[in-house]
Symmetry: C2
Subunit: 333 residues, 2 copies
């Protein structure tokens, strides 16, 4: 494992602000903005659009059969020469197949999540692949570093979809992890604007992973009903639920309220799993059933009021980040 | 109601960063740092120390009988000529008495919380008192503005003690409220360092309210056992619980686990209230019973590893805030 070039300099400063060059250099990208590999949202169209705009697009392998996944990887390679990656949740039944496709197709960057970083990191690193793992607490962040992961995504409670049991928010998790890690740190959860992007770097992140804001883009592969729903949400319209099965942040729709009622009345883990069943996320986000589906989105959706092309989202993020830093310099004592 | 001096300028910028001058001018203080008026932690010693160091100290009226409260106000006036204020939770049974003491003793700044801002704002404003109200969602933030409150504290899910039902985190709440409000906005929840302070201003807050970091100071009136406990915590050691009675973030001690078990097995609201009983917070934070007491502290406690004098906490906050902004300027594209 080669240490990131600016590691030492960062560690020598006596205050733990992030260093965006570490993420730019690690992936060879222009802006330290990673598009989260969200299930049912992140096909080759979204990933390639983000990469073309100077960020790092990720194909979300978690909702794809191996053949579909291979097709998306191939399409993405055709659509752009810029670096892109894939996200593979390690609880996925076909994970071995996806990993093999990654190697066969020459994918250079893999984000793993929902599992132990010790399982595939060494294998992928041997193949010359850059490996990033998603964590939600200190224990797994340190484990990542120990097993040779190249960078860590630390995801807060406000994020959509699967989430950690500790319920650490991004604001408290990033400054907590920063002094513990020598590898680059990427903040995720609650980041949908240039202001939040700048805030994440202030907190000690070297880059950001953004999900919800990219789910509500023209290039996202999710159903139009889901995109329209996202832009209609206000604060309090999502909640982290199913904590006794696997914590997931979702929109408070009919399905959510059924689960909530079961939890209040002390339903067993088995009963909850049975009601969840299979294919709820697909039904909601991909097929557009806003009542029966599991609609995974982050709290930041409350601030998203327009479906935009990726190019515009990226432009806003970059410009508002720069303006925020400029405005901060006039906020000194 | 006189509009804050820099309101227009802030609104005219096309990006919603905070403006620290609005909070400095509103209270007549040197740094836009407010010490939260925490029950059982915030007596005159803590409040006056923060005010002397250039912030705004608040006496926490929520845990004081009227006579005790009057005594703390008088001691604080004697200890410092700098501005200070009080926090009055509006669910408190003796709230009328406390409000009268505020008027009698010439207190100039009142933070109200846990209730409707429409109840006392007009009365207090008539007496020339600056009124700030604590909220956790957009609905109450707009209500505050409507009834003439001078500034809003928006408190996120990561904060210790009483919390909102929406579970909005500070990172998502501040950028959500900023464009909706013309009055100054103070961020609370998860802020314990100069980095997080800078992040809050980047997100659109004009100042910060800090609780947990001041609970672990020499001047805090809480029991030594509680302070020692705070510095021992890691991530995941607090949780927002009792959501069906009133949501409170507390340390996962014996009392917490009893409540948690009752909730999992579907206990009624009444049974939970009965087990909570009265005086749990005092027993824990003031009397030092780490098993049976209700120990209210925020997630940011995971990053607090030293009990410090207030002067040092303030110095670190101010210096690290400045350093963070400086470091951000070298993180541009």
């Amino acid at each position: 494992m080669v240490a990131p070039p600016l590691e030492k300099e960062t560690q020598n400063t006596n205050i733990m602000t992030g260093n965006i060059n570490r993420i730019k250099d690690l992936f060879g990208i222009e802006y330290p903005i990673i598009q989260g590999g969200m299930v049912w949202n992140s096909g080759w169209k979204l990933a390639s659009a983000v990469s073309k705009a100077g960020g790092l697009g990720l194909i979300g392998g978690g909702s794809m059969y191996p053949d579909v996944f291979r097709e998306h990887v191939r399409q993405c390679k055709e659509a752009t020469n810029k670096p892109f990656g894939v996200n593979i949740p390690l609880l996925y039944p076909n994970v071995e197949d996806l990993i093999q496709i990654v190697v066969d197709e020459g994918v250079k960057i893999v984000f793993t999540s929902a599992g132990s970083p010790s399982k595939y990191t060494a294998f992928l690193k041997e193949k010359g692949i850059t490996v990033v793992h998603v964590v939600a607490n200190k224990k797994f962040a340190l484990k990542c570093q120990e097993v040779g992961v190249d960078a860590v995504v630390a995801e807060g409670f406000e994020a959509g979809g699967h989430n950690g049991l500790e319920e650490n928010t991004t604001l408290t998790l990033i400054p907590y992890l920063r002094p513990q890690l020598s590898i680059p740190l990427i903040a995720a959860g609650g980041i949908g604007s240039g202001q939040a992007f700048a805030a994440a770097i202030a907190l000690g992140a070297d880059g950001v992973q953004i999900g919800s804001r990219f789910a509500a883009t023209e290039e996202s592969s999710s159903h139009q009903n889901f995109k329209d729903k996202i832009v209609s949400l206000i604060d309090g319209d999502t909640k982290l639920t199913m904590k006794r099965v696997v914590p997931v942040r979702m929109i408070k729709n009919k399905f959510f309220r059924e689960i909530e009622q079961m939890e209040i009345t002390g339903a067993s883990r088995e009963a909850l799993k049975e009601h969840l069943g299979r294919g709820r996320a697909k039904k909601g986000m991909f097929e557009g059933d806003m009542d029966e589906g599991e609609l995974e989105i982050g709290q930041v959706s409350a601030t998203i009021d327009q479906i935009l092309p990726v190019s515009e989202v990226m432009k806003n993020l970059v410009e508002d980040y720069q303006k925020t830093i400029k405005n901060l310099t006039s906020n000194q004592f």
